[in-house]
């Protein structure tokens, strides 16, 4: 296993910004907003949150999951800088599909920890509800039908073998929960109950969060459709299984959104007296295992989690909040155990009992996660960081955890599959 070196200097998150994660075309306030503006709103919010002006930022990272298709551009960092007052400053674009937002944090921290820059902004944007129209200005959008989206997903799989041999795409959705169900000999009904339990908890969090996509609870949806209970509705033909284990509610809710963070040396933040308590980034564990390889998400998560625990010396029982990319919903159960947040073999029961809800004793994704807060692909990882920072400041509003978390574990993955495991801690 790669042994990580300590950063040259401690780095903290001092500012966060996040747009609503909605279908911008459906809301009169946002109809017509393009990628540059969306990135700009999130960036300006993060800069203001840090008590700074754009002139104070030295460098920025731009992330997007698939800019050629979804943003109709190449080198998008060149096209957004002017939106938030950073013309002529250095920047770079990166793209790791749905892991983009976590790589955004890792890279920004490295840029500051190395001493190259003092104040770095790292943001990401994807307007994934609709598509741009070639040769038209950015406010003109068109539908983004599944017939266009599904084939585009293939491009995250290895062109040599993973894609043409069909295994990579085929196993991606279910392979970890299937492995989990075999280890603990859990039948399909138990897994179904666990995933539906997660959906109910996550949706409650999303509905209470003004930035989230969904505005009605599962219980309200069930009543609207004439069902007596949420469980009946979740198991009905209105929510069919679309893979062996995952129902429609177990998949991401594609939407539009942008998010950004500002990082600086912890000592500088203390000396300046930034407006909010700095949140130190203790470290990032990293791995990438291609989807055609056996149990790739499990493999890469195991490597990255071990790395970050070894680097930081943090013990799993110190983790107060667990955030994870859950665009395949079952990933919450498997990764929470692999990262030591919930005892092995127990997470499926925690899910059924609602213990992972924002008001439970082991919260995961209090904002609702990818399937309920919404998934703006590259931007979602930073939206997770936004939520973690708000929780750690005690500013998460209606979904604030009862005990303000001091230590948060982020498990990001995406792009078949890059994985990042990151630990954040409140600076005392």
């Amino acid at each position: 296993m790669v042994k990580l070196g300590k950063n040259m200097r401690s780095v903290s998150i001092v500012g966060v910004g996040c747009t609503p994660f909605k279908d911008f075309e459906d809301h009169p306030e946002t109809q017509g907003i393009g990628e540059g503006e969306a990135f700009g709103y999130a960036a300006l919010e993060a800069i203001a949150d840090a008590g700074l002006e754009p002139r104070d930022v030295d460098f920025f990272y731009h992330g997007a999951a698939n800019p050629y298709l979804i943003n109709d551009c190449i080198t998008p960092n060149m096209q957004v800088a002017d939106w938030f007052g950073m013309r002529a400053k250095a920047s770079v674009h990166h793209s790791e599909a749905c892991c983009t937002g976590y790589v955004a944090l890792e890279q920004a921290v490295m840029a500051v920890a190395s001493g190259t820059y003092d104040v770095v902004l790292s943001g990401a944007v994807d307007l994934a509800s609709t598509l741009p129209v070639e040769h038209m200005p950015s406010h003109v959008r068109q539908d983004f039908p599944l017939e266009v989206m599904i084939p585009s997903l293939d491009k995250i799989y290895d062109r040599a073998y993973g894609r043409p041999l069909d295994g990579a795409f085929g196993v991606s959705f279910d392979n970890w929960i299937n492995e989990y169900s075999m280890i603990y000999d859990l039948d399909a009904d138990k897994i179904d109950d666990a995933l539906n339990g997660l959906t109910k908890s996550l949706r409650r969090g999303a509905v209470a969060n003004p930035l989230a996509y969904y505005e009605t609870t599962v219980e309200q949806d069930a009543a609207e459709m004439g069902f007596d209970s949420a469980d009946e509705y979740l198991k009905s033909m209105y929510n069919p299984k679309v893979t062996q284990y995952l129902r429609v509610t177990g998949f991401e809710k594609k939407c539009d959104g942008a998010a950004a963070i500002v990082v600086m040396p912890t000592e500088k933040a203390k000396a300046m007296g930034v407006p909010h308590t700095p949140i130190e980034v203790l470290g990032t564990g990293a791995s990438a295992v291609e989807a055609g390889l056996v149990h790739n998400e499990h493999w890469a998560t195991e490597v990255a989690a071990k790395q970050v625990y070894e680097l930081t010396g943090v013990s799993p029982d110190e983790i107060d909040l667990f955030m994870c990319n859950d665009f395949f919903l079952a990933s919450e159960i498997c990764s929470a155990e692999e990262c030591g947040y919930i005892p092995r073999g127990e997470a499926w029961k925690y899910a059924i009992e609602g213990r992972t809800a924002f008001d439970g004793d082991k919260p995961i994704n209090p904002h609702g996660g990818r399937c309920n807060f919404g998934h703006a692909h590259g931007a979602s990882g930073i939206a997770d960081i936004y939520e973690a920072v708000k929780q750690m400041r005690g500013e998460a509003g209606a979904t604030q955890m009862a005990k303000v978390p001091r230590t948060t574990f982020l498990r990001g993955f995406g792009g078949s599959q890059n994985v990042r495991c990151q630990i954040l801690r409140t600076v005392e």
Binding site: Y161, V242, Q244
Partner: protein, 139 residues
């Protein structure tokens, strides 16, 4: 690197499938077989490998059944199938399409795998537009 020190690895792999041969690369240091083949060894991290043939026989590690989201009609035309992880007799493991796993048989196969029984599989090469696809089927 000079031209005469390079060769297309992926092309040879697929040309092998056309002839019913499965080409891998054996590590010159640790002997592990890289399959499907790459340039270097991912088992030990040594830089050099050489061509070898593999048997095409192995065992199933686990499998999942396709649903509407990940079903491929052209695979169904060949036969009932699942997606699964296979470890070849020579050691390397990768994911493939596995023919012969029906919904009816799935429960029993899963029970055998949980019990630690080795479920044998062998290669089955199918036609795709412009290339051959390596799949497996139950013994």
């Amino acid at each position: 690197m000079q031209l005469d020190q390079m060769e297309p690895i992926v092309k040879k792999f697929y040309q092998g499938l056309e002839e019913g041969k499965l080409y891998g690369r054996r590590c010159l240091e640790c002997g592990a077989v890289e399959f499907p083949p790459h340039l270097a060894c991912n088992a030990c991290g040594y830089h050099a490998t050489e061509w070898c043939e593999v048997s095409g026989h192995g065992h199933l590690i686990d499998f999942t059944l396709p649903g509407p989201q990940n079903d491929k009609p052209y695979l169904r035309e060949v036969g009932k199938y699942a997606y699964g992880a296979v470890e070849l007799d020579e050691g390397p493991a990768y994911t493939y399409v596995i023919f012969g796993i029906t919904k009816k048989k799935a429960k029993d196969i899963r029970a055998r795998l949980i019990a630690g029984v080795k479920v044998g599989v062998h290669s089955k090469i199918i036609d795709r537009p412009g290339y051959k696809e390596l799949c497996f089927e139950l013994d």
